[in-house]
Symmetry: C2
Subunit: 431 residues, 2 copies
């Protein structure tokens, strides 16, 4: 209960109240997409006068734009339409995965404005080399962003492993151990941006290059789950936004993350969601984590491809080939996917018994294979989850949308930091 031990005083600090309410108004506009001052007042519980003053400041600082007159749906005078600005502060997400690097820049509305992907096998490459490459791609993305008048508020790096305090503790599929990824990327990025600046640059980009960027980091499955939450548009049985779900990303590894009431369950040390290493058979094949018989060894991308008679390191093209063969009725391909589905179904039914999520969302490799994966998974969820809520017609097993990925989720994390306290960023821009 001690987390509720904040005293309420009738008279709160006025500057702190204004700071809080600036964010309140900015987020209200963000969440609605397009809105009016009157609607913001109705939604936030602030007075019309307070909203007008706060909106004025947000327009002046470039966080909001307004355009044309509109007739609001509610009673009252017509208002001008408010939107979050498409220029100014931006979030930058960098996803380093086993066989690709993706950089994504979003504006404050969360829209995907710049995206660069490089397919490359990062397994076994020295971490510093991988991070140098990521920095180079990020510097290119930032040049494109700058040309669109978007300026980075920070960079979030997503990695397929256990990340804490800026360090990759372990990423079995990359072969990384205790890599200080935040520091390495920040340093590499600083160098890459300086060399980029020596080339003829668009007007007004110099200030951007001079400003050191804050780099944060986390698990890519977490970032992918947040992208699904924020951009996936999934709804529950009652048509409300889906806010409690288990999210799996099939890649070389299997990333898992649990969203509870619209927030990530990070665990006591930030390491929650490692569903790829849940045991299927204690005496099964050895896993890169050092244990035997992990789910990854039965339903990870390599296991899937191998079971279908394809090269286990064939990556995304291999998965596309697997799908093509299954569509053509190739029995080995169908059997491989269904076998992975049976094992997934067992582990997911256990996870559903433990977590009681509203839905399970499968992304990455699993997305194009859902028509074959879903029946054996659903059969086990229906039979094994004691709540009885997981019948085949419950619609609780879903394919992820294609709207979000770990790179966009990471970029949006940064953008949301700006929305949470615009005043800090307004001050920084003025400095």
């Amino acid at each position: 209960m001690s987390n509720h031990l904040a005293p309420l005083e009738p008279k709160a600090d006025k500057a702190a109240v204004r700071r809080h309410n600036l964010s309140l108004v900015l987020r209200a506009v963000h969440d609605e997409g397009e809105t009016t001052r009157a609607a913001v007042a109705a939604r936030s519980g602030l007075t019309r006068a307070a909203v007008s003053s706060l909106v004025e400041q947000l327009l002046d600082s470039g966080f909001l734009t307004e355009s044309g007159k509109t007739f609001s749906g509610q009673a009252g005078r017509p208002g001008t339409v408010l939107k979050v600005a498409r220029t100014g502060w931006a979030g930058v997400g960098v996803e380093i995965n086993v066989d690709y690097v993706t950089v994504c820049v979003v504006d404050l509305s969360g829209a995907d404005r710049v995206r660069l992907t490089e397919h490359v096998d990062n397994r076994g490459a020295p971490p510093a080399e991988v991070l140098d490459r990521a920095a180079r791609i990020t510097a290119q993305a930032l040049e494109s962003a700058s040309a669109r008048e978007l300026h980075p508020a920070g960079v979030h790096l997503a990695l397929p492993g256990l990340v804490s305090d800026g360090t990759v503790r372990q990423a079995p599929n990359l072969g990384w151990n205790e890599v200080p990824a935040e520091t390495l990327l920040a340093r590499a990025l600083s160098g890459a941006r300086r060399s980029g600046a020596r080339r003829p640059a668009a007007q007004g980009t110099t200030a951007d290059h001079a400003r050191p960027l804050t780099v944060t980091s986390g698990n890519e499955a977490d970032a992918a789950a947040l992208a699904e939450l924020w951009f996936g548009g999934l709804t529950d049985a009652a048509g409300r936004p889906l806010r409690s779900f288990l999210h799996l990303t099939g890649e070389i590894g299997i990333g898992g993350a649990l969203v509870v009431d619209g927030r990530l369950l990070r665990g006591a040390h930030g390491f929650a969601g490692e569903i790829g290493h849940v045991v299927v058979d204690e005496d099964g094949p050895e896993c890169r984590c050092g244990a035997r018989g992990c789910l990854e060894q039965y339903a990870g991308q390599a296991a899937l491809l191998r079971a279908a008679g394809l090269a286990e390191d064939a990556g995304q093209p291999g998965v596309a080939e697997l799908e093509r063969r299954a569509l053509a009725g190739d029995e080995a391909a169908v059997a491989a996917i269904e076998g992975a589905g049976r094992t997934l179904g067992l582990v997911l039914s256990g996870a559903a018994n433990l977590f009681d999520p509203d839905a399970i969302v499968l992304g990455g490799t699993y997305r194009p294979l859902m028509r074959w994966l879903a029946p054996p998974i659903t059969e086990r969820l229906e039979r094994r989850v004691v709540s009885g809520l997981w019948s085949a017609d419950s619609g609780r097993l879903r394919a992820s949308s294609s709207a979000g990925d770990a790179a966009r989720g990471s970029a949006a994390l940064v953008a949301r930091d700006v929305l949470a306290d615009p005043l800090t960023y307004a001050d920084r821009a003025g400095a």
Copy 2:
């Protein structure tokens, strides 16, 4: 982010502020056990004058008591010692389990003041009959409480099954399905208290009998985990109170609950924590839930006793006999416990990979058997949890304390409702 969309206004409602701060002060005293006005002010951030006025009202309403002078540890004048009152409002917990019913009454400090247990086989008995018996025991406990000047603020009923909206959806080990337990208990309790009142009663109990009691309900594993959180006194590696852990109660079934940052993870429908039905072997023995090969079939009380050559329905005396035999070096007994430990270790390593808790706490049947259970469990946690935080010397696998059980946790839930809003209860007492 919409959960943060509460506007801050410089001028908050004064009555609401006082209501909030009354709870703040009462909880500060509760959490400290014994304290002074000065210490409450320091802890809460309220002024000394505000605290004095709030304390006065809480003393007048009977929530707090004060006694003798003390010299506070901090600078300043000596203050009188404040404590939460040991009379007045009380919480009542009723635990119905497979082979017993326990009723517990706690005062506002959470102290266990009245406790009645009846050992009885509830399997297969009609739910109404079981609830009638529970009501009779509760009425007896309330008479004892009344003699101690403790008056029930409400009753919380804990059951070994899936409970939502006051109804037991499914309790496989009781054989209950869709039982409206709250309504049935409230009705039976009303009858049992009336018949109790016909006997010569202690002074001042008539008002209690006339007042209908609010009955709430939930899962017994959840209540047991809360009892461990509130009364277990467990600490993390740094010596701070343990606030994120997975709690298992071995009974006929295996109850599970996850505490995250001092709060229960209830799941999207309130059904989280069903670890007893996580699959061990899809083709294993049939479980009462309808599926095959659930953990319960390998590590539940019946399976343990059976594996040791004891009668599987021997209950607590059977577990005591199992412990006695294992202590005497009986190989079948030791092998049975270690076998259960291996299976528990596999399922718990999966749960630790998913949740990343700070610790795993084993209670109920498992408590007296820990010396044999711990080695095979720890071995698997060490080998299989990818975070690498679960080595044998990490101390993360714990036996539960004996301080709390589901009945006390349930009673404390009710008492904490009073602490959260004392004014509501002060008004009710005056009505």
